[in-house]
Every structure is written in C-alpha cells, then in structure tokens.
C-alpha cells in the first residue's frame, strides 16, 4: 500500500487541478454550489475510471516494463514535475508528466516501445487541435439549433444551466476514464495492481483530490472561462469532454487542460475574438515542451540516485 502513495498523491493533485476544467464555469457563475459540483464530479470521475479506464492504462503500461521500484520513481518524478510546474505558474499536463517520467525510466532500462510512445506523442499534438475542431463544429451546429429554439429568456437560462451541468458531468466522466491511467498504470506494469484495482484506486484518489482541494483551482479556471458567454462556455466544456473521451477510446491519456484551451481557441476563431492572450499561449507552448522533459530528467536522476552502489576503494 505504501508503495502506491506516490500514485495516490499524483491522483489527488490531478483531481484538485483538473476538475476545474469540467465544473469551473458552473461553480464560478454560481449555477452550482461548490459542494454539489465536487460531489457530482467525484462520482462521475469514479464512474469514468471504472467504466472506461482500461484502454489508457494498457497503453501506458505498454510503453516500458517497470519494476515496483521504477514505478514508484516514475510516480514521484511525475508528481514532482506537476508540483514544480504549478509553482512556476504553468498550465501543467499530468499526462505529459507521467509519460515523460516513464520515458526516462524506459531510457535507463533500454526498453522502450517506440510505436506506443509515438501514438501517445501524436495524440498530444492532436489534443488541442481536436478540442479546437470539435468546438468549431459544435458552436456552428448547436448554435444554429439553439437559435431556432422557441424558448423565452428564462427557459433559455434553465436550458443552458442544465446543459452546462450535464456537460460538466460528462467532462468529469471523461477525465476519470482518460486520466486514471496517469495515476496507476505504472503499478499495473509493475505487477502491483490488477486493472480493476488500478481503476478503483486511481479513480478514488482523483475523486479525493476533487473533494478536498479543487475549490481554489475551480474558481480560478472558472473565472477565466466565464469571460466567455454562457453558450460558448458550454461549447468549450462539451468540446473538451468529447476530445478527452475520444482519446480514451483510442487508449491514450491526454491533458484535459490542453483540450480545453484548444476548445477556447476554437470558439475565439468562430466568433472572431481573442479568447486566449499571447502570454497564456506562450506559457502553454513552453509547458508543452518543458513538462515531459523535466519529468524525464527527474525520473532519470531519481533512477540514477536509487541505483548508486557504495563500492569500497580498497
């Protein structure tokens, strides 16, 4: 159990950070009380993890084979990277940190499945682009449908609120299904957990992070998003959820934050408005390269340190 602590910590920080992408707009706009949102998000994260968490776990497990010690090293390296990047104020991707850390161990082991690795990296490129494209399509299609609806102001308001809560729940489900692999896949690879327990432990630790510490991030991310009109906020959350869910079906853990930023850009593209500042974009791009690199470096360093042997000179 103790050996799982690194993964549980990672799951906790993932839940604390990424639930905001699903329920930030609903909570900040006071459509939902934080506690309702946190409980709904936690339930849907766990559901997602249990129902569809297997494929991403299989992918991460297949990148390299790890011993228990190496699994712990990669978890700690990923968690340290996430913490460091958060402290530096970068929008961090837990998936990239985990893959970077596994990659580091793979280098040291000289055991790396290049095809699984390239599938993951291609999907990294595809996440923001996917989010953007889906947001464009959704905004055009659902926008047309919404304009045709013969609803009064109050009915429209009720409809938007219900849809935003439904989209948030779906996004939480997709988060659980996709990102549970980041938390416990290495322990499945190391033979410490079977798939069911990996999904349960991973899902519970993410849910725990949501319940205990997601409020500040939810309020910050939500405020940034609520600058969009409510319909655009709905489209952004829905596009993010569909993107992340699509990658879950492919079996690749991706960043919900990057899918979300892509969706925000897509909305800006259609509406002809600047939804993301140049500074934010630069931060995202920098983090995109730095996160896996730092995680890889930390895991190599930790691996090196734990394998040091005292050799008496005489």
């Amino acid at each position: 159990m103790l050996s799982l602590l690194g993964g549980i910590f990672l799951g906790w920080s993932l839940g604390a950070n990424d639930a905001a992408n699903a329920f930030g707009p609903a909570v900040t706009s006071r459509m939902l009380k934080f506690w309702y949102a946190a409980v709904v998000a936690a339930v849907f994260v766990l559901l997602g993890a249990l129902a569809e968490g297997q494929a991403p776990i299989e992918t991460l497990k297949s990148i390299t084979s790890l011993s228990l010690k190496q699994a712990i090293v990669s978890s700690v390296a990923a968690a340290a990277t996430v913490t460091l990047m958060t402290l530096l104020g970068f929008p961090v991707s837990t998936s990239q940190a985990v893959v970077g850390a596994i990659l580091g161990i793979g280098f040291m082991n000289r055991q790396l499945d290049v095809s699984a690795m390239s599938k993951v990296i291609i999907c990294w490129f595809g996440t923001p682009i996917g989010g953007m494209l889906i947001a464009v399509v959704l905004l055009k299609a659902l926008g047309r449908l919404y304009n045709r609806l013969n609803t009064d102001l109050f009915q429209s308001d009720i409809l938007l609120r219900v849809l935003l809560i439904a989209a948030g729940s779906y996004a939480a489900y997709a988060l659980g299904a996709n990102n549970v692999a980041n938390v416990t896949a290495v322990f499945v690879g190391a033979g410490q957990l079977n798939i069911f327990w990996a999904k349960l432990v991973g899902g519970l630790s993410i849910a725990f992070g949501i319940i205990t510490f997601s409020r500040p991030v939810m309020e910050t991310v939500g405020k940034k998003l609520v600058r969009l009109d409510p319909f655009s906020a709905l489209i952004v959350v829905l596009a993010e959820a569909i993107t992340v869910h699509a990658y879950t079906l492919v079996g690749v853990p991706v960043s919900t934050s990057q899918a979300l930023i892509g969706a925000v850009l897509g909305v800006g593209l259609v509406k002809g408005i600047n939804t993301v500042s140049t500074k934010t974009m630069a931060g995202i791009l920098l983090a995109w390269f730095l996160t896996p690199t730092i995680a890889c470096f930390i895991s190599i360093s930790l691996y090196f340190v734990i394998n040091l042997r005292y050799v008496p000179s005489g």
Partner: protein, 216 residues
C-alpha cells in the same frame, strides 16, 4: 418538476412582469395627473394622482429590491443576471422622472402658459407611447429571440420627435414675455419631461443588445 428545480427563476419571471405591470400603472397615473394639471392646475385630483404615482413608484423600488435579492441568491446565469439588473436600473429612471415632474409642479406651483399646453400634451403623449413600446419591447425580448429591432426604431423616432418638441417649447418660452424666473423654471421642467423619451430610448438600446446576445 421544472418548477421545483427552478423555483427562483420562475419567481424572478413573475417579479419582472409584476414590475412592468406596476410601471404601466405609474405611467397611467402620471399621464392622468398631467392632463388634470394642464386642464385645471394643481387641484385635489392632481394631488391624489400624484400620491398614487408616488405609491406605484415606491412599489417599483420594492419589486426591484426583491429582484436584486433573488439575483444574489443564484437565480439566472451571471450574464442574464447582470443584464436584467442593469435593465431594471435603467427602466427605474422613468417612474423616478414621473415623480420628479409631478413634485416639481406641486412644490414650485408651476402652471403652464397657454402657448405651451398643446406642446406639453404632445410631449407627454409621445413619451408615454415610447414607454409603452419599451415595455412591449422588453416583453418581446423575454419571450422571443426576434422582433425587438422594429420596436426599437419606433422608440428612436419618438425620441427624435420629443427632442424636436422640447426645442420648440424652449424657443417659444424664451421668445415669450414671461418673467425670466418663470422661463427658467419652465425650461427646467421641459427638460425633465423630455428626459422620459430619452430614457425610454436608452432602455430600448439596452434591450436591443440583450436580444442580440440571446442569439449565438
């Protein structure tokens, strides 16, 4: 089921329509008071109607407070919340103007000179028409996503017409042989009267923007 989950939204809808209905009553009493004032000066009937106008104006404030309270307790999404609060704040200027005009007449004991009476009647008629159209426009904006712009253009035309009457009245005033103090007193009153259609036009522009925002 919907009423159970969105009780506050339904309460809010009822309050907004209550507010608009109350505005109609304020308008009605104001118009009657002005007609009496033009016909017979400051009489008991005028004072009664003035008190009635004040009563409905106070009720409007109470309803607006209730609306604001509901808004702060999470009724509606933030954008609609902000829009409705700003809208009611602007609409509320109109009953305030009604009350101010009647107060000015009563406290300053103003009587309109004969040469201004037709213009005052015309100004009040067009201003009240603008207010009625504005209420209709708000109703259309709440119920539908289209049809607001047509009403806005009529209100805009009325506002230009009122400006024209206002200028004509001020010219007549200063061309007359009235006492300079009376001229200033009446000029001030004419400006406040002209403010009704200006405010209706400002509200109408706001409603137009809200209607545009309802479409995505």
């Amino acid at each position: 089921m919907r009423n159970f989950f969105f009780k506050k939204t339904r309460q809010l809808e009822a309050l907004i329509y209550n507010y608009l209905e109350n505005l109609g009553m304020t308008q009605k009493h104001f118009a009657k008071a002005m007609n009496i004032c033009l016909r017979e000066g400051i009489s008991d009937d005028f004072c009664f109607l003035m008190d009635q106008t004040h009563k409905f104006e106070s009720r409007a404030d109470d309803i607006r407070d209730q609306v604001n309270e509901l808004m702060y307790s999470r009724a509606l999404i933030p954008e609609s919340r902000e829009d409705i609060m700003a809208l009611l704040e602007r609409v509320d200027e109109i009953p305030r103007s009604f009350e101010q005009i009647l107060n000015m007449i009563r406290t300053q004991k103003i009587t309109f000179p004969e040469f201004l009476i037709l213009d005052v009647q015309e100004l009040i008629r067009v201003s009240i028409e603008s207010c009625e159209l504005m209420v209709k426009q708000i109703d259309v904006m709440i119920k539908k996503k289209v049809g607001v712009r047509t009403l806005h253009s009529t209100i805009d035309q009325n506002e230009s017409h009122c400006d024209h009457i206002e200028r004509r009245m001020i010219n007549k005033l200063f061309d007359s042989e009235l006492d300079p103090f009376l001229k200033m007193q009446l000029k001030e009153l004419v400006i406040v009267l002209g403010e009704i259609s200006d405010q209706a036009d400002r509200v109408s522009k706001r409603v137009n923007i809200m209607a545009i925002k309802r479409r995505v």
